[in-house]
Symmetry: C3
Subunit: 349 residues, 3 copies
């Protein structure tokens, strides 16, 4: 691809040689001649002045502080432009034409849409219905009566338990588990626990992405729901009857306890935990490792800490936390001085 | 089922129409006519006055504050009653009569009890012994000399490594890993690490439930033991030589480092971490995200924080943490005022 | 094995009966006659005086405070000696001679080195190249063009996606996922997210060990790299473009966000989280549950807390945190006393 072609694909403008050509993408600190790369996070600006890349994608408003060697392609949105270019490159990787493996175990009463591939050692149980042009990798388990929409991709080792519903254009990464039992037990007088059967299901709406080894438990009754456009990273735990709003983004290793509802466009940092039965308002932004124990009522609130507080309040309290030994010393000194003053004062009276 | 039948199954009493009939369960906020639902957590009481359900399970001591439309069935223990009803419904889901799949790989020297089902692409290695009426789903790995007791259920993708022992009535959810190597290395002078072979095993006693993608490492020597009746949620890490007490309940994403022993009836919130070589007394209750770095000696202690403290002490300290900027400001004012007073005092002397 | 033979294998010295003989190892608190055991962690010294083991491995400098029954074998390095002995025992466990299962699905254009075993229901895709004497367990997925070095072990359910590279002598535990997509999306004006294709790869160098259910995401561009000798425990999340240094040791459930680089010999406690784009100096030691939000510049720094601080500073601040209610009370008393003094002082003026 030449710089001129790239500019065409992403509606950008070339600054430098429009015939500069590249064969692959590379990160800015490692790119070589013949690569294209990009500058989005300002932390990496220094590399823009030393990179060996032939083409560099930058924001329209990027003003180099030093000379830049590669041909620049300017765009209003570097990340989206990158997504477009990489998708062109990536298409070669996804066309191995496996069709339906003879080594899969597909129930005669399951239905597969045209263009759908099924890999070896995958199991599709009775009553499952899979849409058009899906890619089901090897070693996947699709339980009874599961529904999967068109154009969805299910990577190796994913388990989707009975009755669960997956929308269109979903991506489920390797070893994710959809619809295992929720964690529900009734305490007994002898201190043992009686299992409460989990007879609900999981619904993933359209355009949902689920990370590797992430677990989304089925509802005890009703549905655990991930609304359309939500993106979940690896090793996340979603308990029974949770609801995650449209276009929410949840980083790795987050845990959400039972029946908690996250609003639309919520953003959750890594390793955050939510107690059960909470309501988290639309657009809430939660810093990594926070612990939510109560509702967030106001849309767009920034949250931090465990137990969680407002973001700015947490930062202010934490600044003092770092100075606590000093603060304690000051209080002890004050006590001492005050005692002296009191003594002086009383000796004068 | 009619209200009268439900009352019969759970030894409850009907308040309203004994012939009210239902075909399925639903959560209280989503139930429709023809559904039964329940009210256990008082947070949901408002829904009792608006639900469209035909039958509502409530505690004997529930006194409605407003009129209630559904027929009530009263019981001493709502959760246990729910478990009983859902089990009746759930039985239909677990009788697909798969028998022993011809697509499984079963070593001729493995033994399978009568009534045990084995799914496609499951591997059962030499010397494994599986009890009566077990349900082993597809794509499971059962290593050499593993023992599994009667009536246990092993979901797709579970791996049970050689020599491990699973009791009766156990449930292992999808992609759980039982008996992978513990994490043990001997440091070398050149800063590399020599692996210490992990030649022990894992023992899960009877009535243990293990969540999806949870890992229980084999002991380096001896056994990692989960005692009878313990329930572990998803994505938990149990290191080598850990012991978990009878009827303990551990929420998702908890991590327990090597050789730590949890007592009976311990309850652990989500994302809690335990250092190695600890002893945690019976009945200890640990809040989510806490970090345990020392023993808990006294049974029934409530714990919170990272590093962990007594629950009430943590709450009290955290209340002040939230006010720290104010506290610091007060100390600075005190210093200023005291300096003024000292000056006044010394100028008088 | 006799005590004399053990001393020979580990270059140790016998103290007691050189003909004392043992058939297996056991932990010190559970060992019986006929077992060997070891004392390394001083926490367990009391058991040295009560153990029924026939042979006890101890440090050269161990001076018993009370009489010891077993024959002692003294060594300069107990853990390494244990590793040597257990490896001798463990070899019996790893020679089941499965060869290449007819139930595996191996692409004709994949290459397998001599002595490599492949288990049932494993998939090896086109262009994969696997070295000599590897052990690939059942139900593994090896994607297109993956490279695996000699003597590596891949446990059941591991997924290695296309183009990824695994070095020599690596061990990948069950259900680990290597090379799933990194978590990268470009925000759109309508609040949806456009996926940024992840076209890079993962490189595990030689002697790397990866725990069960651990996820190492492929780079968006370039490589996610785990350098030689690094050891990762279970349920860890490594995001795209992360780099982990030589001989680093990372405990379970740690999460590392995108493009962060850990130096050589770093040690990370369980459940630690790292923000993205950080640089962590060689030899940094990080306590469990810490949260890293900024670079660590100085090699060998000890770190604790979330957000993270210097280890000693955190401990000092946390000591005061525990006393905060008391500190607050003191400040209130000081305010009261000072107000009284001021009043007294002004009434005198």
């Amino acid at each position: 691809m030449t710089a001129a072609q790239i500019a065409h694909f992403i509606s950008g403008t070339v600054e430098g040689d429009p015939n500069a050509s590249v064969t692959r993408g590379a990160p800015i600190e490692a790119a070589q001649a013949g690569d294209f790369t990009f500058l989005d996070n300002p932390k990496y600006e220094e590399f823009a002045y030393s990179t060996l890349a032939s083409i560099l994608l930058v924001h329209n408003e990027f003003h180099p502080a030093k000379p830049v060697t590669p041909t620049l392609v300017r765009t209003a949105d570097v990340r989206t432009s990158l997504a477009i270019l990489l998708k062109i490159i990536d298409q070669a990787n996804n066309s191995n034409g496996a069709a339906i493996s003879e080594k899969a175990s597909i129930h005669p009463e399951a239905k597969l849409g045209a263009g759908t591939e099924i890999g070896a050692f995958t199991v599709i149980e009775q009553g499952a219905v899979i849409g058009l042009n899906c890619k089901i990798y090897p070693q996947v388990f699709i339980g009874r009566n599961v529904r999967i929409g068109d154009n969805s991709t299910i990577y190796p080792g994913v388990r989707v338990h009975f009755d669960c519903e997956i929308g269109k254009n979903c991506i489920l990464h390797a070893n994710a588990v959809i619809g295992a039992d929720g964690f529900g037990f009734a305490p007994q007088p002898d201190r043992t626990w009686t299992k409460i059967p989990q007879v609900g299901k999981v619904v993933l709406e359209d355009n949902v992405e689920i990370g590797a080894n992430t677990c989304i438990d089925r509802a005890s009754l009703g549905s655990t729901v991930i609304h359309s456009g939500a993106k979940l990273d690896n090793l996340i735990h979603i308990a029974h009857n949770v609801e995650v709003g449209h276009n929410a983004v949840i980083a790795a290793q987050v845990g959400i306890a039972g029946s908690t509802h996250l609003g639309d466009n919520v953003r959750v940092g890594g390793q955050v935990g939510f107690a059960g039965h909470l309501r988290i308002a639309d657009g809430t932004q939660i810093q990594a490792q926070s612990g939510l124990a109560s509702n967030i009522e106001k849309p767009g609130t920034a949250i931090f800490g465990s137990p969680a507080m407002g973001y700015r309040d947490f930062i202010k309290s934490h600044v003092v936390f770092k100075q606590l030994p000093d603060l304690q010393r000051k209080v002890l000194e004050l006590e001492k001085k005050l005692a002296e003053l009191e003594q002086g004062s009383s000796s004068r009276q």
